[in-house]
Amino acid sequence: MNRTRLAAGAVACAALLALTACTPRDSADVDGDPGELTIVDALPAGTKAVDEVTWAIAEGEPATLNPAASANLIIPNLCDNLLSLQPDFSIEPGIATSAEFVDPVTFVIELRDDVTFWDGSPVTADDVVYSLQQGMNPESQWYGAFALVVPDPATGIVATGPNEVTVHFVAPDSTFRDALAGQGGAVMQKAFGEAAGDALGTPDGGLMCTGPYELADGGWKPGSAITTTANADYWNGAPLVKTLTYTFVNDGSTLATALTQGEIDGAINVSPSSRAVFEGDGAGTLTIGHSTASYSFGPTTATGPAANPKIRQALSLAIDRDQYLQTVVNGLGYVQKTLVPEFSFQSMAEADVYQAGYDALADPEVDLEQAKQLVTDSGEDVSEPLVVAVPAGAKEFEQTATIMQAAGEKIGLDLEIDEMQASDFGALFYDPAKREGVDFVATQGYLETPGVLGYPSLFVLPAEQGGIFNWSGYDDGEVTAHMMAARNATDVEAAANEFVAAQAVYAPDQLQVTLAGTYQLTYLNDELTGVTTSVAAYSSPWALHLGGK
């Protein structure tokens, strides 16, 4: 009953999104051939039971399934978040029937009383307090979401009833509710977590959550597969798939062959470079969904040309975005104007305010004369080559760096590519010593949950206020004031207006030169359906409605 209603909802939403995506906006906003792409964010729910589905994780085997420590595509099917993220990036009640600020600094979460963990024990307020407190640990992936919670664990997050949890804040926080629809709001069992200790989420330690699929004892065989089974008592209806097994395929072409041959049933985030293979004859179909992911590059130094906005603007003006899209993502992307993509806010309250703010930004265009002028005007000494760091062996990044190099050449900037080993590249992001001698770094990122503040905060705020990637030392009083006002706003309209005001100032300074927005690419066997195909898959049980056609 419940499922049918949801299924209808999913179809309607897919159709609606397809329509909006196909409606041409202004001509500069679209890539080469937008009419050919149909954007679908969820496939119609399955109707037939299926014994076994084999799913490939394109990113390789995860290090852990602990939702506080990692983000990967397996966790969302195992652990529910307090609020439920929909394929269109809207937020619905989940384990929490409501989660709202009752005054500017007090947030109350009311829980359903019929949700149980896999072992049959009910979810209590204590379990939710324990789970949320994981985010208070600086080691947590979601630490930033809890930054304004009263830091003392005894008073910050407390159980105020058998099914009620209250979170106290030091200042109002307009972003907290959205974060609960992501893994920052993942619910785990306290007793299990405390017994497992550091091993929680590892092959040895296991996990105890409430999600539609269960991780059995010994279900994770390190190096080969993670086997999960349907949770027959799932509060939102049991899944149709009895056993969902994840395998790990790092090699893009091996994955493409295994998928099109039907040996693996599906995968999310398949490589755009195999587009022709996926669109040819094969066991399944490629679905293109909305994503918040984008490619960009940014400065890694507070000195020299890279730290000068004029140099970044010049490089941006010398890069042909359409060519970039064709080369790097095989046409499966779109021109994105700034750090925060449209899909991030399209289902938020005041979405029209955010959209108007986005539309008002200048479109990236190629203008070599103006670019050369900017290099001259910058007053920077550009006789020494600027170093661009990319991870070694990653084709998309090598291409990105090569395109940057070619663009630089046209406007008198000499760029040198430094391919770094994965571990060294990773170290760039926290070890200042590793950034010495590097001027730019090319990156790819996505946002798991709706919300506009978290991502730009990392780049535009001073380091002590959360700008941990603000390596160029950007410090604009106006931007900081608007960003802070947006986070501390107590009504949605003020939050939207403050953010748009901040964006209008920081976007032209290109703290990250956004090169392209990309789509979420999902390949699924033609006998199956029901998968979430938008970037919401990172934060919602995307296989809940998976089943036979």
């Binding site: 080691e139 091993a199 390190p222 090699d251 041959q261 070890d431």
Partner: protein, 317 residues
């Protein structure tokens, strides 16, 4: 003490010394390759406090020799440390993957011995035309790197004909064998060609030797001369080369494992190196060295058993 026992003891001593030296080299080389903090922090953005905590927990600030000593004493007791990435004992990580690599290598060895030695014998004994044909085949085989063979096999036998799976290791004995056939062939081609050449030249050298001529003149049947003299005398040389080849297969299998999505130690090593999972890189490297050294020793020993005179010759060197 007879020659064989002495050789055995010498071999054992040499083996332990090699392993000890290898462990030092591997331990220090791995330390030089990268900063483990990124792997240890597991993707989170570490604060300075967290970095300090991790450094203390994993003794990263202790002197290298002290860390090596702790690692070595642990390893002797069967504790090879915990994976930085999976936070689990590396032995539980390596054991199931080793089984897959072992099965792949065994199947490959069967292919190499049957087709490599077989075609070598044919080339040496069945006249000029066969010799030419085998020579052409082996030239081609030697020119084909494993990953090219893998792509060809996937394209022909998995995609076009659909006879074999392209991915994974399968469940159960038959399914496993079925999944390992193409990876084993892709791995074997180069070595079949190599062993075939070695076999042929060793046999040809024996066929032209004096004692074979003498045996023939004495009227001993061809078949018996070949078995008792030619092949027997040539086999230590073939075995010595085959031993090295087989030992090398454990490392070479990484290419086939990655191409066919097999979860063996080769693909584990590739992933662990990319993620700077140092304890895993250490144990897999050491395991590969151990296998190499042990198999070489075994090959020498078997050669010695077949032909004790070879002990005094090249095999002991």
């Amino acid at each position: 003490m007879n020659t064989l026992t002495r050789m055995l003891l010498e071999r054992l001593g040499g083996l332990l010394l090699t392993l000890f030296l290898a462990s030092i080299v591997i331990y220090s080389a791995v330390l030089l390759t990268g900063d483990p903090i990124a792997a240890l922090a597991g993707g989170a953005k570490p604060t300075p406090e967290l970095i300090a905590e991790i450094r203390a927990e994993y003794h990263l600030d202790d002197p290298v020799w002290q860390r090596y000593w702790e690692w070595l004493t642990g390893a002797i007791q069967g504790d090879f440390g915990r994976s930085f990435v999976y936070k689990t004992a590396v032995t539980t990580l390596v054991a199931p993957r080793f089984a897959i690599t072992l099965q792949l290598v065994l199947l490959t060895v069967v292919l190499i011995l049957v087709f490599g030695v077989g075609s070598g014998i044919l080339a040496a004994t069945r006249g000029r035309a066969v010799d030419r044909a085998v020579a052409t085949g082996t030239s081609l085989g030697m020119a084909l790197p494993t990953f090219v063979v893998a792509i060809l096999l996937i394209w022909i036998f998995a995609k076009s004909l659909g006879w074999f799976p392209v991915y994974g290791e399968g469940d159960g004995a038959w399914d496993r064998l079925w999944h390992l056939v193409l990876p084993a062939i892709s791995l074997a081609v180069l070595f079949i060609a190599y062993i075939s050449r070695v076999t042929r030249s060793a046999l040809v050298a024996q066929l032209h030797s004096e004692h074979v001529d003498t045996a023939r003149v004495r009227g001993i049947p061809r078949r018996r001369v070949f078995g008792a003299h030619v092949f027997r005398n040539a086999s230590p040389q073939i075995l010595a080369i085959a031993g090295t080849t087989i030992a090398g297969l454990f490392a070479a299998s990484a290419i086939a494992e990655v191409a066919f999505g097999l979860g063996g130690i080769g693909s584990l090593l590739v992933q662990a190196a990319a993620r700077a999972d140092l304890p895993v890189v250490q144990i897999v490297s050491l395991l590969l060295v151990t296998i190499f050294v042990v198999l070489n020793a075994v090959a020498d020993l078997v050669s010695a058993l077949i032909d004790p005179t070879s002990v005094e010759g090249g095999a002991l060197a």
